[in-house]
Amino acid sequence: MTTWVELEKFQPVAVKMINNSITRQRIAHAYLFHGPPGTGKQEASLLFAMRYFCENKDEHSSEPCHECVSCKRIQSGNHPDLHWIEPDGQSIKKDQIEYLQKEFTYTGLESNQKFYVVKQAEKMTVNAANRLLKFLEEPSQDTVAVLITEHSGQMLDTIVSRCQRIQFHTLSGEHLYQQLLDQGLAESTAKLFSSMKMDVNQAVEWNEDDWFAEARKIVIQLMDKVMNSNEEGYLYLHQVYLKHFQGRESLEFGLELLLIWFQDIISLHLDKQDSVVLIDQMERLEQFHYIVSLSEAKTLIYEVLYTKRRLAQNVHPTLAMENLILQLQR
């Protein structure tokens, strides 16, 4: 479990604002935590809720004790007066709204302190939003609501204006890498995903997906083939590559991997070993960087980017990829 101190490392402004409202005892009735996915909004809500209910709180510190019955139960999801609302599918459903509304009208179970967290708050239906609004207009004394959203622009102005807004910023590559390592990703994968600026949740999901591991392998093999004039990159493209990368999104992903491959070649040419992303392929890359000159690598990066554009313009994927392979093949 994280602490404010840890969270502050990569969200200094947001954490400072929240901590100030806690230690100065100026907790608002409603907050809007907004920012890109994987930036710690949920962790911050959890810490906030723990501190709110914590039985050993220190007035001068915003940290919860993490050990009392309340803190523990918040982590296990058993605190009866903390309510998480999360859209079930496309929107927050009717029974969720009814639940929310009922909870607004009842006193708490253990005390009169209540804490609500609404995730993906932009997905509230107008009806749900209006009910929430009604509550925000006349909150009961001991209630705090935290709305979490990645798309604050899609929220009703009337709601946003009643919340204290806390912005969560995109993580820097280094922080993201660290976070991914914390999530148990292998160094090489963490490096790759953080270089792609993938958000933490998605990265964890992809990491568990065999498709991704396979995709990575295929791209490296494809490059082995095209960089070797004795091999048929063209054949490999049809027999393996295109069978794995189907559909626009996965094709784009394949091209992203190719780009990284070339960037790494360039990094080696510039003696920037630290910047290499495919660190587990270092030996291979070292070999290839003797074959592909710096200026060649640059040119080929343009070819990959050009192919990306053509895909976006709905050029037939097979044609676009064939064309690219012809350019790359030694």
Partner: protein, 380 residues
């Protein structure tokens, strides 16, 4: 924790607390029953967060031994299978054993069940009993109070506070009020020794009171009632019933009750119920279940109802007396029948102040304690 307990009282207790457990709960721990053993006995708790029921099995009661062996401790066990397991055990005695890893062993005769338990620390912490802030009522009286008011709570969520019964205690007078904004039920009783007690704006969810009413048997035993900030507790000898309250300010209702009248009808309650019930046979089809009541000469009332597609019903009813102005008024038949049934008196007195104003129904005698108010329907 370890107990050796008689199966029957355990089974009865489980059935008690199961009434509070809901299969669809958002708080995982509430799908379990909490077992707590101390030197005095065993306490079981079940909750759906709105209501919580605690059932106590004393070690010994009236010379009968319920629990033969106790090593104190606590555990939460999944409620889903427990009742069936205990019911089907072969022996009259049950041994329940919990180890440090929260594994639960249930032994009876040659049968042995192993269940995974959950840490009792995860279970909600209920407010402590505050006996100094409590008063006593006879159970059958409490049940009557609920019956006479709870039907009038609002079922719509537009004004959530009205979905509860308002409880007020001051100067030894306990008052319960419920209204859905179309009708209002009020019941007062005098208390003997509650001078020190004062509370207002305690609003108990109507659903909780219905549950409580189901659980309580019609006895003359006393029940102890205490109120905290966020919960109300009803305590009988071995069963504690807790309910969360409604958060908000209950509207001032005393000003709604008219203190004068233009037309007063005294009538046999049962006859009036029956005749309105007949009229509403057709009225159920129209939108508001409307019947119309018209005063006629010689102390008679005319009761009619009209449903455009079905037909018309009309009947006259002899009253004991009609005093004051002539009157023609329409109202929801169901409200009238509910009110008359709640009053439960042979003769009632109905005070009208005009066709567009609420009217008051009271028992003809003993008219201080109960009052039902109904707002009419304006027809076109």
């Amino acid at each position: 924790m370890k107990i050796l307990i008689e199966r029957e009282p355990l089974m009865a207790s489980i059935q008690n607390v199961m009434k509070a457990i809901s299969s669809k709960t958002t708080i995982p721990i509430l799908s379990g029953i909490k077992l707590e053993a101390n030197d005095q006995g065993v306490k079981l708790t079940g909750s759906n967060s709105d209501i919580t029921i605690e059932s106590i099995i004393p070690k010994e009661e009236d010379g009968v031994i319920n629990i033969h062996e106790i090593i104190p401790g606590q555990i939460v066990v999944q409620a889903k299978f427990l009742p069936e397991i205990i019911k089907k055990l072969p022996n009259n005695q049950v041994e329940i054993d919990v180890d440090d890893d929260l594994n639960l062993k249930i032994k009876s005769g040659h049968a042995e069940f192993k269940l995974n338990g959950q840490d009792a620390e995860e279970y909600p912490q209920l407010p402590m009993l505050q006996t100094e802030n409590s008063f006593d009522l006879q159970i059958d009286l409490l049940k009557m109070l609920i019956r006479q008011t709870n039907f009038a709570v609002s079922v719509s969520e537009t004004r959530p506070i009205l979905t509860g019964v308002h409880l007020k205690l001051e100067e030894n007078l306990l008052e319960l009020v419920a209204t859905d904004s179309h009708r209002l039920a009020s019941r007062k009783i005098s208390m003997n020794d509650a001078e020190e007690l004062f509370f207002n704006n305690v609003v108990i969810p109507g659903k909780s009171l219905s549950e409580l009413n189901k659980i309580l048997d019609e006895t003359q035993d006393t029940i102890q009632i205490s109120v905290t900030d966020n919960q109300i507790l009803f305590r009988t000898k071995n069963v504690y019933f807790l309910s969360r309250l409604l958060d908000g300010n209950y509207p001032e209702t005393s000003r709604l009750i008219p203190n004068q009248s233009k037309t007063v009808v005294k009538v046999n309650s049962k006859e009036l119920i029956e005749s309105i019930d007949r009229a509403s046979l057709l009225a159920k089809d129209n939108r508001n279940n409307i019947v119309k009541l018209v005063t006629k000469g010689q102390n008679t009332l005319q009761i009619t109802s009209n449903s455009p597609e079905i037909g018309h019903v009309e009947e006259t009813l002899e009253t004991d007396s009609i005093d004051g102005e002539e009157l023609k008024i329409s109202f929801n038949a169901k409200y009238m029948i509910d009110a008359l049934r709640a009053i439960d008196s042979d003769k009632v007195s109905i005070n009208f102040t005009g066709a567009m104003r609420p009217f008051v129904i009271r028992p003809e005698e003993d008219d201080e304690q109960i009052l039902q108010l109904i707002t009419p329907v304006r027809t076109y």
